[in-house]
Each structure stands twice: as structure tokens, then as C-alpha cells.
């Protein structure tokens, strides 16, 4: 059975592997370039993007990661992972940081501010619900989270979050204030899909709700099935696998 790779340099990789395990899918830790050869899809977890970029640089992972994305293999980035996958990121550390790229959008690192501005929100996720069922909303946990300011025409928006447009113009973003009333609410994008690349600014791995993981596994499955006829997912991950979680507390594998 094919396995899902989880980039395990730093951050919430254990949580992702635990979420996959709950779906009956095996996740393996990826720390070295050669380990990327053994997997058909990859999750880049949350964590500190600066730290992850440094560690990837030490072990020369960027060329292999870029190749992985360019080959069209399914990749999902959460939070720091989303920053990794973006073609352009603003709000980086002095001297900038390396990105993998592939996702045609501009991400504002740490858009919502420091830890004290971290929050939870019920997000409307029509695309996810149409594929996975379950409640109409998804509990998004935003921790020092990034946001997508601009997305290219190829990019499909899966969820957004309202912010005051004041917030947008205050941030050193390239977006101009298009609204006439500065108090009016506008939105930032927090979940996208472009081809085989999935990106979320929040952390589905920190909640007991596994719909995003199931969505990604199915997405990988479709792509692999196009190439061959092997199956990534065991039979029980059907169309209506969603069960209300017993407890929605954070998961500590």
C-alpha cells in the first residue's frame, strides 16, 4: 500500500501522522531527500516556517521538494507548509527565506499577528462538505497564522475568513484598499487548491475532525489512479465515512 509522506523537520508532523492513522492510512516521516522517493504524496506540516526552511537547507531538501511538486505529485501544506508552497511570501525574516513554490499566490506570513491574536473560528467550507459530508463548518485553529492575499486564476478558493479591510491596508501587503468605506469587512483566503496542491492557513491536524485529511487522501488517490490502478485508501474510507468526533480536544499522539 502506498503511504503518505509527512515532512518531519519540525512542527506538528506527529499530529498529521496520527490523523492519517485514524483514517487507516500510514504516514511516514520524511527527513532526508532520498526518503521522498518512497512516497507518492506529501504533507508539509505546521511549525515555524523559518526553522523548517533552515533545516531543509542544511540537508539540501529544497531541490528534491521542488522536483516533487513540479512532477505533479499531491502536496498539502498547513500553515508553515502553505508558506513553503507559495510562489511569493511577504513578512519574512531579515534576509528572506527559501520557498518551494508551486502555488500561484502571495502569502502574508504571520498575517494575524502574535500568539495573543491566535484564535479559533468556524469556517464555511462548501467544497469540503460536498466531498466529505458532515457539518457545514470546519473548526479552524489559527496559530500565528498566515493568510493568502492574492491568488492566481488557476487557484480555487476553498475557504475564506472575514477581516476588517483596515487590517489589510495596515499590513504591508501589496493589496490596495479597493473599498470606499475603510470600515467595511473584506476577506482573506485561508484554504486553496491548485491542481494537486492543497493549502490551508489553519491546522486541521489539531482537531479531531479528519475531513481535510480524508479529502487530501482521496485527492491523492484520484491522481494515482489516473497513473496506475493501485489504491491508496482502504475500503472503509468511503464517501460517508464522517463520524462526529467523540471529543474535540487537541490530539496528542
Amino acid at each position: 500500500m502506498a503511504v503518505v509522506g509527512v515532512l518531519a523537520l519540525q512542527g506538528s508532523f506527529n499530529e498529521h501522522i496520527a490523523a492519517l492513522r485514524r483514517l487507516g492510512v500510514k504516514g511516514v516521516e520524511i527527513r532526508k531527500p532520498e526518503q521522498l522517493q518512497t512516497v507518492t504524496s506529501l504533507i508539509i506540516p505546521g511549525g515555524e516556517s523559518t526553522t523548517m526552511a533552515k533545516l531543509a537547507e542544511y540537508h539540501d531538501l529544497f531541490p528534491s521538494l521542488r522536483e516533487f511538486v513540479q512532477m505533479g505529485k499531491p502536496v498539502w501544506g498547513t500553515c508553515a507548509g502553505l508558506i513553503f508552497l507559495a510562489n511569493k511570501a511577504v513578512g519574512q525574516k531579515a534576509g528572506g527565506q527559501h520557498l518551494v513554490g508551486g502555488l500561484d499566490c502571495t502569502v502574508h506570513r504571520n498575517f494575524f499577528g502574535s500568539q495573543i491574536q491566535s484564535f479559533e473560528a468556524e469556517l464555511s467550507v462548501p467544497e469540503l462538505v460536498s466531498k466529505e459530508g458532515g457539518p457545514e463548518t470546519f473548526r479552524g485553529i489559527f496559530i500565528r497564522a498566515p493568510a493568502i492575499l492574492e491568488a492566481g486564476p488557476e487557484v480555487k478558493v476553498l475557504a475564506d475568513y472575514p477581516v476588517s479591510s483596515n487590517r489589510l491596508s495596515n499590513s504591508d501587503s501589496p493589496i490596495e484598499d479597493k473599498t470606499e468605506n475603510p470600515e467595511e469587512e473584506s476577506k482573506v483566503i485561508v484554504a486553496v487548491r491548485q491542481g494537486n496542491i492543497l493549502g490551508t492557513a489553519f491546522h486541521p491536524e489539531l482537531t479531531a475532525d479528519t475531513r481535510w485529511h480524508s479529502y487530501f487522501v482521496k485527492m491523492s488517490n484520484e491522481i494515482i489512479e489516473e497513473a496506475s490502478s493501485s489504491s491508496l485508501v482502504p475500503a472503509q474510507v468511503g464517501t460517508s465515512h464522517y463520524q462526529p468526533p467523540a471529543s474535540d480536544l487537541p490530539i496528542y499522539p
Binding site: A8, L9, Q10, G11, S12, F13, N14, E15, R31, G46, G47, E48, T50, T51, K54, L55, Y58, C79, A80, G91, Q92, K93, A94, G95, R109, N110, G113, S114, Q115, I116, S118, F119, E120, I141, F142, I143, R144, H203, L206, L249, P250, Y252
Partner: protein, 309 residues
Amino acid sequence: MEGSGVVTVYGNGAITETKKSPFSVKVGLAQMLRGGVIMDVVNAEQARIAEEAGACAVMALERVPADIRAQGGVARMSDPQLIKEIKQAVTIPVMAKARIGHFVEAQILEAIGIDYVDESEVLTPADDANHINKHNFRIPFVCGCRNLGEALRRIREGAAMIRTKGEAGTGNIIEAVRHVRSVMADIRLLRNMDDDEVFTFAKNLAAPYDLVMQTKQLGRLPVVQFAAGGVATPADAALMMQLGCDGVFVGSGVFKSGDPAKRARAIVQAVTHYSDPEILAEVSCGLGDAMVGINLNDSKVERFAHRSE
């Protein structure tokens, strides 16, 4: 509780939540720090070195623990101006220390918008009986522990992250090993315990029963657990990871050594590749002088870890 006829001691969740900053969000940042190294820095320049080396957060201080030991006197919260300067210099999370029980220092740290408060025994305690009631804050806290009971008491008070106390500023790993082993041994004991025996076990630990039960079910502490206090080499850091910690704090070990940038980078790599002896060997080579350690058999050495229960 009206009409239910039931007295609920702790409400529905095991941990009291406030609307503004749910416990899951507080714990969430700690989860993002897993597998990372948090470094003590005393100025913006050191903070930049730590960030460049790949630290996942920095602890802003006026004096590292080794200097607090050497100079003596009362150690207090750092000047907020210094913490602000460090915060501006880096993009990674910034933590700062408040004295045990000094909730006003914590309020000040919350007001300047840092990411985590360390209620630390390294500073001179302000209250010898009570810790800060951390539920009253929107900002998350990390606290030290020597054993499982102490860890769970801190979590009940609202700590969203736990670290071992170790013996800060000594460059001597023995106390940190003792504390991690103590926590892990009690959790292993708990996992194999009959449910009937947990009540007495909780009483003996002097820890809240519900959190003891939650620990038993999870098979680990219900929050992220880091190692701290005496880490000086990449091997020390990997040792703590192999003993089951989620990450490592390095205090005096980096900036009291011969080549801080190189040592910082080596410790970061050692934490990521903690179970790969070949990489550990590679990163341990040619790091220059390690910090001079302190032998803890000397009875004149003050034990910071014994400052609180």
C-alpha cells in the same frame, strides 16, 4: 447546574476554557514548536543568530541563567524595552520569563504582545506558596516541573506547556535527566494501572484526579513537554529527545560557548535527527569549547529547581 442535581467540579472539559483564548489555541502554539529548540538570548543580535541557526523560538532575557548564578542578587523580569527590541528583530515566537507567582509581571508581558510567558524558577520567586493563576490570561504559559505531580498541578493552574526544571545555568544535564525519567516512569506506571488504583495514585502525586486520568488515557502529558536546564551539547539535546521530550530549551549552553552560531545550528539539527547517530556524530564535530559546567555535588550550588513545588 440548575435542575441537574449534579455537582460538576470542573465543568465539561477537563480544563476550564475562556472564550477569548481557548486552551486548544494556547496548546496549539506549543504543538507548533514540537521538534524544535528554544534558545535564551539577551539582545537582538543573539536573537538573529538563534533565528539563523533554526531556533523555533527565543527566550528574551537580561541575563542568561549562568550569569544569574555567578552574579547573584534578585533576578526579575527583563526590561520590556529589551524584549520589544528582540521581538522586532525576529519573526519567530518570542518568550519571556516572569517570576513565580508574580502575576503583574505576567500582565506586563501580555501587554507587550509576546507569544509565551515562562513562569520560571530561574528568576527569584515572588510568591513561595502560589503560582500565577494562568487561566486569567489570554497569553499561554510554560512552567517547570520535576515530576508528574508537579507537571499536572501546573496544567491545572493553566499552563499550556511543560518543561523539566533541570538545573539551569549549570551545563550539567543530570537534573534534567532525573526529571524527565521521573515523569516518564510515572506515566508508564499509570498506563498499566487498574482504574481503581488511580484515585490513590492521584492523591500521592498531589495532582488533580481528572488530569491524572487524562494522562493515563493519552499515555503522555496532556500538553507539550520540553526539556530544559543543563543542555549544553547536541548529544545532550538528542538524549532528551530520545527520553521522550517534544523539544528542547537551551539556556546558557549556546551563548556561553566558544562558537555560538555553530553550536546553535548543531543543536537544532541534533533535535531534528535525534535518533540518527551518524548525523549526530557529524554535527558534534569541531564545535569549539562547550560552556564550563558546574558539578552539582557541591553543596554550595543553589538548587533553582527546589524553589517551588
